[in-house]
Amino acid sequence: MMGRTCRHKLRNRFIPMPNLNNVSSPSLWQRIWQGFLTTVGTKQFFRIFAPWVKWLAILAGMCLLLGSVWGLAFAPPDYLQGNSYRIIFIHVPAASLAISIYFALAVLGVIYLVWKIKTASLVAQALAPMGFLLCVISLLTGSIWAKPTWGTYWVWDARLTSMLILAFLYAGVMALFAAFEHTANRGKAAAILSIVGAVNLPIIKYSVEWWNTLHQGATFTLTAAPKMSADMWMPLLLMIIGSYLLVATLAIYRTNTLILSRDQGKAWVKEYIRGQHK
């Protein structure tokens, strides 16, 4: 006399498999791992990072303002390029971030696919449009800079072409995030493209070494001393730090918006919304 619904309920009932090898309580490592999994939940992410937004934004704004004024008005011009080199203060941070954000998308994709942590997928969704924007900015500023320096707006150089491909990859990831109605599928498809597309990153990085490109090599590396004078690289460093902070701010803010939208049925979100109007 078992009805349809009844059988359905039985099938969906969660029955834990008895572990015959290890009957003892979970190990310390397992407990830490479980604790970690709960702290990266959407609610905890919101609670922990929402207060950071304001301070990160202030810090980012200060770095960017100081770096801009220093770079535009105080730094000396380049002996070869004159004042056109001042474009470096936005071109390099934008390009560096475009690459870093894509790397972050790939790492978040792996985290989402392997450990099924939803927050990772939401952070990736929040980051993708920012990466696209910065990639476009680096391409535009690069081509404007190329006109006075190389005499042309665009060449099919290895660095430029691989960067253009990165912009298309970003567009693809964004399209996948927008294409699916179901949240889990959306995250999976975008994660797979992010991971596969990461093949492009070493190509961008080493394009200036593998091929004979018009684009110059890296000005900044973590290992060697800068190839610029201090009053040029210090504002550049400020701009790089400032833009990383700005991206972190926006990433948190946008992820929290997505979290509120996703968890809108949950009690804590309802409470938060009620708190917004008091």
Binding site: A73, G82, S84, I137, T141, L246, L250, I273, Q276
Partner: protein
């Protein structure tokens, strides 16, 4: 530290490269500001939508209960 440029007009001209430098900065600042405003609007729209939704739900749960209590009296 001394500013590199002697006058404002020199600063704007940037040698012969003013057009290139300033157009880059305008594009970047414009796009980033637009993106920040867009992100903020998205959040505000969501909060507004959820507030309206909650108010409706509160009404829906409040309405049926009032006639029932009146009838019981």
């Amino acid at each position: 530290m001394q500013p590199y440029f002697y006058s404002v007009s020199e600063f704007i001209a940037m040698g012969e490269h003013g057009v290139f430098v300033w157009s880059c900065w305008a594009i970047t600042v414009g796009m980033m500001l637009a993106f920040i405003v867009y992100s903020r609007r998205q959040r505000q729209a969501l909060i507004k939508q959820l507030t309206i939704q909650q108010a409706r739900q509160a009404q829906r749960t409040a309405k049926p209960s009032t006639p029932v209590t009146k009838r019981s009296r």
